[in-house]
């Protein structure tokens, strides 16, 4: 296992070292000590490595991740795993706003709560939140799945496209064009898989499904307020 201590190593060296890991690297396990809320930690990774951050992270940790698994043993600042393409990011604590924003793929697991705009503009990423999520989450979400084991804040799924939203608890309000939809067997199957991958013990049957009413898909003047 490789260890990088951010008390002794700067951010550039850390990320350059992780970026230098090739597809076939045998140095597959990395630990980052003393992150102390630093920004842009382990962003832009593109190798099948596992990185564990022992502490809290600042903005954009694991941004644009590909292939790698990033474990955050603390809470994450804004934009964690933003634009993730593939791989897995697991946060033991809470996540600030924009978690998983615009993510194209991969799995983001937040074992605590997520703040506002979780999954904003998501484009294929799967997000599993063990706790609650804040307002305006899944705004303009295009595809992928957002699973919320707790409650959702105001305006969930506003201007939603084809992303699927599963919420176990209450939803304070739905955003424009977001409606509750029937939970069919295929959705329970998808949800069971997501919960298993997200290490949640919640039961698929306890969730409700939300999605787009598809009434905003084509411009209509009555929708232009």
């Amino acid at each position: 296992m490789q260890t990088i201590d951010l008390q002794q190593t700067d951010l550039r060296t850390l990320n350059a070292t992780l970026h230098a890991q090739a597809e076939t690297t045998n140095q597959t396990t990395w630990t980052i000590e003393n992150p102390r809320g630093a920004h842009a930690l382990a962003c832009g990774l593109d190798a099948p490595i596992e990185v564990t951050v022992n502490g809290h992270t600042g903005y954009y940790c694991a941004g644009m991740n590909k292939q790698a698994t990033v474990n955050i043993k603390g809470s994450a600042g804004p934009g964690v795993a933003e634009n993730m393409m593939s791989g897995t990011v697991v946060i033991d604590g809470d996540a600030s706003q924009y978690a998983g924003a615009t993510g194209h793929g991969g799995l983001l697991v937040i074992k605590g709560n997520a703040s506002s705009r979780c999954g904003i503009s998501m484009k294929g990423i799967d997000i599993v939140v063990h706790g609650n999520i804040g307002h305006m989450s899944a705004f303009m979400a295009q595809s992928g799945n957002l699973v919320v084991c707790g409650d959702a804040g105001e305006a969930l799924g506003d201007s939603l496209y084809e992303a699927r939203l599963f919420v176990r608890g209450s939803v304070k309000s739905l955003g424009a064009d977001c409606i509750e939809k029937e939970m069919r067997p295929e959705h329970l199957e998808i949800l069971a898989d997501l919960l298993a991958r997200g290490s949640s013990t919640a039961k698929p049957e306890e969730f409700r499904r939300y999605g787009s009413a598809r009434k905003l898909y084509n411009f209509h003047i009555d929708n232009a307020y």
Binding site: H39, A40, P78, E82, T102, I120
Partner: protein, 448 residues
């Protein structure tokens, strides 16, 4: 009335209202009939104070000109010298502005890349991601980082020569975008990860940062992902150029791109295009002042756009302190947009060559702003690239002609002192003395 005429009594002639003109009334009737505002492409069409309202003084006894054809007048510019290890080196200070694949056809994007490459300059992606044709035919390609993040991925980010974070554009500062469903082909839909045929909205704000403090951290992330190699531009519309430039520099930009209200868009509301933002000549000196106040003029480069048409416009922009310019609409015209040879087709669409602006509808007779295979085939990307190269060459020669006449051996050496203004408005906006005076409205130390 008829009796008056027969009796020879003078009558009041019909007078059209300047306020309720025929075009205004026609628009009121159209709005009343349809209940929908007008959406169109392009930039502001109204007459605005512009580069035409400025003149060069030229050399005389107090200034020494350079020989027009023989003496050297350099045109090269390097963008992104502040932080990037690989700044962009261009042969000419005229770049191609961001225009998306989706708004434009694949062959049109290829033609822009070919023309820019032949001329030794850069071209820019748009809202929709980077295509292989565009990357393959563009020696220097700037990759736009937009609120929608359509097609955004780290691989394309790393194969870009620069990254342009788009905060706004001159046609619609504060506005997002819309690509109507008729232009969403299978390929466009796939690149943007949305169903085919639906209208695709582009958000007006970035999804994962809000203010300049966040932006500074976003830039840090992009630099870390790309190894601090490529320059990072920040593009803003001509809204509050002094403050926007100041904040862009504070956030860490290598280059500020400033787009005036004459700058085009693929589609937005006409009311937005014509009523929001400032003309580019009102923006340049304010942006330069911000850079000078920060001690960053020439260290952070300034690229300006919005209605650049000729080498004279290029020279005037640079005399006011810009390091380079960008062209969008003019480049499309060079490719063949609004060419009278398609007049019959324009008439069939209810318009005429020179006025066609329904770029969002995908029926462009010139085959540029369309995804229709038959229309797209009208533009040969090789020929289009050649035409753009020619046009860029002419603009450069024109700018050099003016610079030599002002005694400058590099376009960068043009300065505000070389200019005078023809109108009070232009003098005030551009902070250039009114012709025949040493004064402009608002000049420090003077009253007005």
């Amino acid at each position: 009335m008829k009796d008056d005429e027969t009796r020879g009594i003078p009558r009041t002639v019909p007078i059209q209202s300047a306020t309720f003109s025929n075009p205004v009334n026609a628009e009121i009737r159209r709005a009343a009939a349809t209940g929908i505002y007008d959406i169109r492409g392009g930039g502001a069409k109204r007459k605005l104070p512009h580069f035409d309202d400025l003149l060069f003084l030229g050399a005389s006894i107090s200034r020494y000109p350079l020989e027009g054809y023989r003496e050297k007048c350099e045109t090269a510019v390097t963008l992104g010298t502040r932080h990037a290890t690989n700044p962009i080196e261009l042969d000419i200070p005229i770049t191609i502005a961001g225009m998306s694949f989706g708004a434009l056809s694949g062959p049109a994007k290829e033609a822009l890349g070919r023309g820019a490459t032949l001329a030794g300059t850069s071209t820019t992606t748009g809202d929709g991601g980077m295509t292989d044709e565009e990357r393959g035919h563009s020696d220097k390609l700037v990759y736009q980082y937009l609120p929608s993040r359509y097609g955004m991925n780290p691989d394309d980010l790393r194969r870009a020569d620069a990254i342009e974070i788009v905060v706004g554009q001159g046609a619609k500062p504060g506005g997002g975008g819309m690509l109507l469903g008729q232009k969403i082909s299978d390929r466009v839909a796939e690149m943007r990860n949305l169903p085919k045929g639906i209208d695709q909205r582009s958000a007006c704000r970035h999804p994962d940062w809000t203010g300049p403090d966040d932006l500074e951290i976003k830039i840090l992330e992009l630099r870390e992902i790309t190894g601090w190699k490529v320059p990072i531009y920040i593009k803003v519309g001509g809204a509050r150029p002094y403050f926007d430039t100041t904040l862009a520099v504070k956030a860490g930009a290598d280059v500020v791109v400033l787009d005036g209200m004459q700058g085009g868009t693929a589609a937005t509301q006409d009311v937005f295009i014509e009523h929001v933002g400032q003309p580019i000549i009102a923006c340049i000196r304010e942006a330069v002042r911000a850079l000078q106040d920060l001690g960053m003029h020439r260290e952070v480069q300034l690229v300006v756009s919005g209605g650049i048409r000729t080498g004279a416009d290029v020279a005037k922009a640079m005399a006011m302190g810009a390091d380079a310019v960008a062209i969008g609409t003019a480049a499309l015209i060079a490719l063949g947009d609004n060419d009278p040879k398609w007049e019959e087709d324009y008439q069939a669409l209810g318009t005429t060559a020179g006025a066609y602006d329904d770029w969002h509808e995908g029926q462009d007779p010139a085959g540029i702003t369309t995804q229709d295979p038959d229309l797209m085939a009208r533009l040969d990307p090789v020929e289009g690239g050649r035409r753009l190269h020619n046009y860029l060459k002419v603009m450069t020669l024109e700018a050099q002609t003016i610079a030599r006449a002002c005694g400058k051996n590099h376009l960068h050496n043009l300065e505000p002192e070389d200019l005078c203004a023809l109108t009070l408005e232009a003098a005030a906006m551009a902070k250039i003395p009114l012709a025949g005076t040493d004064w402009y409205p608002g000049k420090p130390g003077t009253s007005y």
